[in-house]
């Protein structure tokens, strides 16, 4: 989890990823951010997030992103 938080904070140092639960629904992350996050996650965790995984639910919080990573 701390690896993921590091990735997220490098992309958006202004967001508290340990607390936010509505990163997409509240418009905190832009499409820019999402593509950067997915690229970095794929690289760091050797996973392959595909278009079917690209849903608001999977990216609303660090926990949901971690759950997505662990589903591979």
């Amino acid at each position: 989890m701390s690896d993921l938080i590091d990735i997220l904070e490098r992309i958006r140092p202004d967001v508290d990823f340990t607390a936010e639960q509505a990163l997409i629904d509240d418009g905190i992350l832009s499409s820019f951010d999402i593509i950067n996050i997915v690229t970095d996650i794929n690289l760091a965790f050797s996973v392959d997030i595909s278009v079917a995984d690209l849903t608001p639910d999977n990216f609303n919080s660090a926990e949901s992103m971690m759950a997505l990573i662990e589903s591979f």
Binding site: P13, D14, I24, S30, S31, F32, V51, A52, L54, P56
Partner: protein, 524 residues
């Protein structure tokens, strides 16, 4: 094409098109839709109500807009009121909106966006809310001339207000400025009309087409989404911004609304290709794809071509100062993986010269700066005569009579087949999500934060990665937060690195090349 070439203004185009198809849907947004007939009638009434707030000084109207039908409605209302608009997207940070309102310095601010708090803008002139304007327009004054039917009302509206003529300003579009502050570019009715009429013909756009608008409502690309309906009777869906984060939902939206034509910035098409969105959802109705704003990697174009074999693909190039119009390239072959797409041949109203530092034409096949002349040129920079004179010089080139040109700052080369190839920039301007961004503007904004001594921004086009190096006691977090409150999101660096000192060239200038390499190292 419904319109002829004699059309003088966008409102006269709108009148003609609406008369031909009053019941056809013109715009769709997330709140509803409007027909051509209702649109023109409402725009006239709003325009008549607005007119008494417009002074004679030619100052224009600053307009806070959201991505909804209200944007084209208030733009048309301002035209009917005999003025021109300076649009500002309500989703920008408040400090940015204030900055743009300051640069606009109009006597009147029209707040058309839903949810926009007018007080937070701190505007000292006259502020008019959309709902108040609408109430005025539906009152007796607004309806006074409508009793005799549409044509009479239209005549009254136009003769009352003095309909705009071709050379009149239509709008002022804000872009990034190399001095560190944004600048406004004043565009004329005639340049916008000529461009859209020619372009609609080249693309083959007509009433059967439905555009899916991607552009924010205050960006130059919105001219296509908003005014193709005026010109050729096409309809436009103003697709909500949030759809563009999740491409499957976006594709479902395109199918649901039977979109046929996409005029999108290249990064959005890349985004869809990188996530192989066609694996999840196909596109049923799209048959024209025009990409602008920056280079679309050929692998991404190939992906789109493979999945939409019957569609027309076109690369389109044009800076704001040339009314978005310069050249186009129809991709009539399956592109190879590593092919460099040309930016193509000039539109009919446009002339292009490639000039060297001495403002003389370069030798055939050599790289030169792209200079543009002809009917697409902007009127100039808003309230900046010096910059206008520098950027739009009157030149005598290659035996032609003296003419006004725009120096694009883009480098180009003429290929043997007559197409123009793009060869990058001569300065620090970059393209992010299709928007022109001056790195100096980001650096200036960062340096305004207490705790930042110096800031240098570098860009890695391969990774589309914007990195900010800074010196001083600030932290990455408070710097990112500060920039987010002051700049549009496409201008926010994705990486921050504090340095003990900025590396310099012998002359004392920051060593940008070294920092660019460092940014690439740090990212990998």
């Amino acid at each position: 094409m419904l319109t002829d070439m004699k059309s003088g203004s966008l409102t006269s185009c709108l009148e003609r098109t609406a008369a031909a198809m009053p019941g056809k849907v013109m715009f769709i947004d997330e709140y509803g839709s409007i027909t051509f007939g209702d649109f023109v009638e409402k725009a006239r009434r709003l325009g008549r109500a607005l007119r008494k707030y417009i002074d004679e000084g030619g100052d224009g109207v600053a307009v806070i807009v959201d991505k909804s039908i209200r944007a084209p409605l208030v733009y048309a209302a301002v035209m009917y009121a005999g003025s021109f608009y300076l649009p500002i997207d309500s989703t920008l940070p408040t400090a940015r909106k204030k900055q743009l309102i300051g640069i606009a310095s109009t006597p009147l601010l029209l707040v058309a966006a839903r949810g926009q708090d007018a007080d937070e803008l701190g505007f000292t002139g006259m502020t008019l809310a959309y709902d108040d304007l609408e109430a005025l327009a539906s009152g007796p004054a607004g309806n006074a001339d409508d009793g005799d039917g549409r044509d009479a009302a239209s005549q009254a509206a136009l003769s009352d207000t003095g309909a705009p003529e071709g050379g009149d300003p239509l709008c002022v579009i804000f872009t990034s400025g190399s001095t560190g502050t944004p600048k406004g570019v004043t565009l004329s009715h005639s340049a916008v009309l000529r461009y859209l009429e020619d372009f609609a013909r080249i693309v083959g756009l007509g009433p059967e087409d439905r555009l899916a608008g991607q552009s924010p409502p205050d960006y130059v690309a919105a001219l296509r989404d908003l005014y193709f309906p005026f010109i050729c009777g096409a309809s436009t869906c103003l697709a909500p911004k949030r759809l563009f984060s999740f491409p499957t939902g976006l594709f479902e939206y395109l199918n649901e609304h039977r979109a046929t034509a996409l005029f999108w910035v290249a990064p959005v098409l890349s985004y869809c290709a990188e996530f192989k969105v066609f694996d999840a959802v196909g596109l049923d109705t799209v048959n024209k794809v025009v990409f602008t704003g920056s280079v679309l990697p050929s692998a991404h174009l190939r992906y789109w071509q493979n999945h939409l074999p019957g569609a027309m693909f076109m690369n389109h190039y044009g800076p704001t100062e040339a009314t978005a119009t310069v050249s186009y390239y129809i991709v009539s072959h399956a592109v190879a993986e590593s092919e460099d797409l040309p930016i193509g041949v000039p539109l009919p109203a446009v002339g292009v010269e490639l000039l060297g530092e001495d403002a003389l034409p370069v030798a055939e096949g050599e790289i030169g700066e792209i200079y543009v002349r002809g009917g697409g040129l902007a009127i100039g920079y808003w309230r900046d005569a010096d910059l206008t004179a520098r950027s739009f010089p009157v030149l005598t080139v290659g035996g032609r009579a003296a003419e006004r040109y725009f120096r694009t700052g883009d480098m180009g080369r003429l290929l043997p087949d007559g197409n123009l190839a793009f060869h990058g920039r001569k300065d620090l301007l970059i393209k992010l999500m299709g928007h022109r961004v001056e790195l100096a503007e980001i650096e200036r904004a960062a340096a305004r934060l207490d705790g930042v001594t110096e800031a240098i921004c570098v860009y890695d086009p391969e990774r589309t990665l914007l990195t900010l190096f800074y010196t001083g006691p600030a932290t990455d977090g408070n710097l990112a937060k500060y920039l987010r409150m002051n700049l549009p999101d496409f201008m926010i660096p994705r990486r921050f690195h504090g340095l003990g000192e900025i590396p310099r060239l012998p002359g004392g200038k920051p060593d940008r090349r070294h920092l660019r390499d460092l940014a690439i190292d740090l990212a990998s």
